[in-house]
Amino acid sequence: MKLSELKAGDRAEVTSVLAEPAVRRRLMDMGLVRGTELEVLRFAPLGDPIEIRYKGLLLTMRLNEAEGITVNKLASAEVCTDGGGGIRRRHRFGRGA
């Protein structure tokens, strides 16, 4: 599935990065290569860029860039549950659930 299809709090593993060369390069330079485990932290207040955490790093990207990253969703055993408002995902403005 695509990174853009995950929900806040989901954990996943990157299986491929397919985007136009400049974007792909940028994503890989930021450490998003095959096998990277990541967690979706939140979506911006207006629902578009997405924020993910991996390797102790916080990265943001637009949903159309996140579409280029295919992931394997991991069992959400230790998903962050501290119910901060930012973690909850309610797509009131976003692209619709």
Partner: protein
Amino acid sequence: MKEIRVALAGNPNAGKSSLFNALTGAHQRVGNFSGVTIEKHEGYLDYRECRITVVDLPGIYSLTPYSPEEIVTRRYIIDERPNVVVNVVEGTNLERNLLLTVQLMEMEVDLLVALNMIDEVEQKGISIDIDQLEKLLGSHIVPTSARQRKGLDDLLDHIISVSDGRIEIRKNKMTFSPQVEKAVESIAGLLGHERDLSKANHRWLAIKLLENDREIYSQVQKYPVWVKVELAIQEAISECGLLQGTDPEVLITEDRHAFVRGAMQECVRQPRVSRATPSEKIDMVVLNRVLGLPIFFFVVWAIFQLTFTLGAPLMDALEYAFALLSDTVAPHLPNPVLRSIFVDGVISGVGSVVVFLPNIVLLFMGLSFLEASGYMARAAFVIDKVMHRFGLHGKSFIPMITGFGCSIPAIMATRTLKSRSDRLATIMTIPFMSCGAKLPVYVLLTGAFFPPTMAANVMFGIYLLGIVMGLWTAWILKSTVLKSESEPFVMELPPYRWPTFTSVILQARMKAVMYLKKAGTLILGAVMVIWASSNYPHSRALEAELARETVRIELSPVAQEQKEQALRHLQASMESRQLEYSLAGRSGKLLEPLIRPLGFDWRIGISLVTGLAAKEVVVSTLGTIFSIGHAEEQSGLSAILRSDPGFSRATALSLMVFVLLYIPCVAAMGVMKKEVGSWKPVLLYSGYVLLVAWVASFITYRLALLFA
């Protein structure tokens, strides 16, 4: 004295600039890298009989040809050959930082690693086996903390030892996966046969070619050996595709990651990360779905309130000082022409510009605080969707915000936007972001025509109007002439950090010096031109009339008091008629029919023309022109404007809108031309903004009259 040149390279937010500041202190200067408008900070220090020149290279994540910063960095390292390259790495984010280190290793330079933010590393309980990491990287690692000034001498000692050759850099070679390694070796071998490339680093060129690096392609394509090289690249691509299911570029990147990952596992012990770091806790509030936007707008609003509320008393003090200076100087200049030059021209002109320095310094302190604290990136994250809707990029927001300080650095800052169409749209939006030099105009007019409680709100409204018009312009551009793909939005949110006092001060000081230099040279020149053109040519007829009338009043049979009053009136009306007769008056008159519908008379017309030199000149021109004829009243410019019949609240509003929107100053136009590449779009743009300004001012003026 021995000279050593050192270049600092590293990721954004690795503390490069702090280290640079800590090393060079006040011995800095800012320039540009040749050919591009990316700032080049250069400084020096003397240490143990050595003059060490330090260049702070732009913050980068990689050495690809996709961003101008990365190209500048690698060109600098290859062409300028610094004696030592210091790679500043963020100790708390080692894994990502080492990816750049590995790429610097590939360049086979004399590399030193400054393991920065070592205080935070210790605080977080991270342990790093430096000896082992040194063995893996092949270069020495010096723990530093720029913030606490720790490890600086150690770093300098190492720099000297490396440049002396007393420390040998092993220049380890990272081994890639077999297919890649085979291709690298064969391509490097081919390049070795090319005589013109004999001095180049063949291995590095081969890696870059396999990474599909456009820059290196065009560099190597010139040579006959290219035919064979291209074949080898094709072969590598098909082999990697066959055996690994991907292309060499991905494999090379993954190999670097694997190397770094291995190094991390071998050398770094991190305590189990607690549930949420302090930064993440802050983000839960600051980036909250509900609170995120209000906080964002509050921060922007607070910055401006802070600038005005804190700036006001300082401004008053400066204004007082300049008035005092005029009073002190005037009696020592018996010659009326000289007195007029100094008091009306120089002191009042420069004074009314310098007086706004506190506002500008405070604003830039606020902006650099936002930048250094890490909020600026969050702001881009929060606002990107809106910016994207207008065809801009979340990153356009930072140059746009900088535009509130000054369009010139802001336009230069758009270099961080990769796509040309994003960059152009942002450049054309920036002049609408009301710059610091327009601020004096608003401060003067709101101060004169609005009560203090309303002044800040009116000003906020003006800024808001600029933002709206700017975004509208961007949207028009992006949906017509610049219709093309937007730049990707991939951005790191750095951990929140408390900005150091010195870095904020140094930033603000730099901007203040820039502003003052402008005020000192350009503005003084402009003021003198205005002074001359508003005094010359002299009308002989008026002089004769003045003499005749004076005699008539002196001889008239009325009381001495009445005579003096009549003489004062005569003097004032003669001065204003002389101004009308002067060069400036005539050019203002020429413009008057065009600007009359906006509520402007010829005197404002002159100010608008001279304001093209720099927007703050609008204020000094108004000062020069309106203070003539008010010589005996020692009141400030706001009081004079308030009492002037040609100036109402509606005029003030209309003028603020016009100054906000019309053609940017000549310096900004120059930079814009350089960034855009030709005059044509700049001139078209000027015509567009003039039209927008005229229409908006017209509407403002008519509405204000309606509600007055």
